[in-house]
Amino acid sequence: MGLERAFADEPAFVPYLAAGDPSYEESLAYVEALAEGGADVIELGLPFSEPIAEGKTIQNAIVRSLDAGMTPGRFFEFVADLDVDVPLVCMTYYNLIYQYGNSEAKRASENASGETASQEGPRPFVEKAADVGIEGFVVPDLPAEEARPLRDACDEFGLDLIFIVAPTTEGDRLDRMREQVSGYVYVQARMGVTGARDDVDDATGASLARLSDWDVPKAVGFGIKTGDHAEEIVAAGADGVIVGSALVDIVAEGHENGRPTEAVADDLESLARELKQGALRGAQERPQPERT
């Protein structure tokens, strides 16, 4: 388990894109552009048909990706085909993780004897993810109470399990999450679903304060759009910033207007650079810089 290393020397920039949006080949170029722009960890969305934690921007990205044929099997090929030297995290919903082993077992048993499939839970998915180089998971619909089977599989294969702390998360719930989290903790900056915003929510500082004694890096996401936002959030004490919708907007705009892949990739790299630079400025503004 080693995603902490991405936060070790300086504040981390953690971008998100839905893998395969709007097509397999374009998406490879876009993810690689983020790495060129300074990404320290990349969250790759594996699209699920019912993404209840996502706002319109990422919902639409998921639809584009599914329409272009993305599946868990293709996702693993995608990760293997990526030419990046940055740790990768898979962000998806639990049914895909859970179902992967069942469908693999079912296919195997149908090929062998036609017997009923065994229920293997999350282990086969985690094993395959580790095999292609995924280093961790974010699963928005899997609270700590239901996460033990996935946590155990992650431990077996040396992967991190990242939990999202919401502005409403307090008390015992924080303790249960703290017991299981590794790699980094995803601090949700505001209530609601994903989506780029024009300001930084006041809840961010309070959420970071609640986690001040946690010994994993704190990366803040939900609504971050500009280098100035990144600066503000890191100055407030975050160890990293997570940015999804603002990047997905560039992909969507390029797709809708038929722009060349290279031009969209350049824009993604440019915004990535701005966000990373903002995070670095934020670190310099801290009264007492503190690295975990």
């Binding site: 048909s49 859970y98 179902q99 069942n102 609270p143 239901e146 919401a166 609601g192």
Partner: protein, 420 residues
Amino acid sequence: MSTDDAHDPKFGEYGGQYVPEALMPAIEELADAYERYVLENEDGFMDEFRRRLADFGGRPTPLQRAEQLSARYDTEVYLKREDLVHGGAHKLNNALGQVLLAKYMGKERIIAETGAGQHGTATAMAAAHLDMPCEIYMGETDIARQRPNVFRMRINGAEVNPVTVGRGTLKEAISETMRDWATTVEETHYVIGSVVGPHPFPKMVRDFQSVISEEAREQAIEKTGGLPDSVVACAGGGSNTMGAFAEFVDDTGVELHAVEAGGSSLEVDEEEGVAPNSATLSTGGEGVLHGARTKLLQDSDGQIMESHSVSAGLDYAGVGPELAHLVDEGRVIPANVDDDAALEAFHRLSQDEGVIPALETAHAFGYLEEHHDELGDTVVVNVSGRGDKDLETVVEETSKRDLDVAPDMSVLNRVGGGGL
């Protein structure tokens, strides 16, 4: 009312709480409120609920002997008349309970999703009755095929928000309502309309609906001197099903039959991600959707399939986790009836008994037609709702088919009136 299992979020392997973290505190708050107000009657909550169910909701509903059907099948057929509840469906039992609970919890706003529109209508009525602002999410496909209920929601003062993503039916509306809830959770209560979703919803909705079987059980004993041999109810998410079954579950001599929508076929087109049915209990696999582990219509990767039924209220890719568990345990018998048989049953009940059933309910009567020989001497069928909302669909769908029992509707054309 159940008290033994309030803390347990599971039914065997099913159930649980699979939701975004931002919602977990609200779900814990709701679980606490469910335990105190519903199970322990704190502040007299259940007394007020029962009083309002009687005065506003029109309970108890009758258990009526169906004379023509009894003669037709040589079986004593009884109808539990939930279509006579205020609003025309069993949905009010749950909506009234949850809106009242939201008031006791100090919430200021109600949101809900709806497929057929009956739950949206019931929630809008309950919210108006209890003076709470209310917004309803409804897929645009369902808005188009359930217009009378959209009118009723608006007339009761609720906002109706069309959901345009996906195919625009119930599963998309549920996802959209969960997104609203994740944004507004501190002041908003989400009235889930069936025995689905994260704990405590499946248990709480069952408890609010169990008044159906509580009454039916007493009425059956009073009218027949004993318990029925079978209880039959249609199943989409499963709220009228669990309501009709709950108080009979321990009566192991009573067979419980859950009838799903067989749609146009039980085959699936995995390539297109479409199941031309909503027969989750019969054909679905285990998975996680909308907050719970349950049986689902999904492809081999775990992507949720688009479901189908001529009845919008049954058109859902999931089913309540308790129902899935009871089927696995062998306590509930799953079955399905296709669109054609449901339409025939709709016309038969309307003509034979003078009861126009909801298309959802018609599936239960389609099953009775096909399986009456296997159901014993006394059968209770839950009439989950009335069919006024479905008349446009029924006329349109009937005109496409050659049904033995359908009336000739050409009188409409003869007078030049056109649509309904």
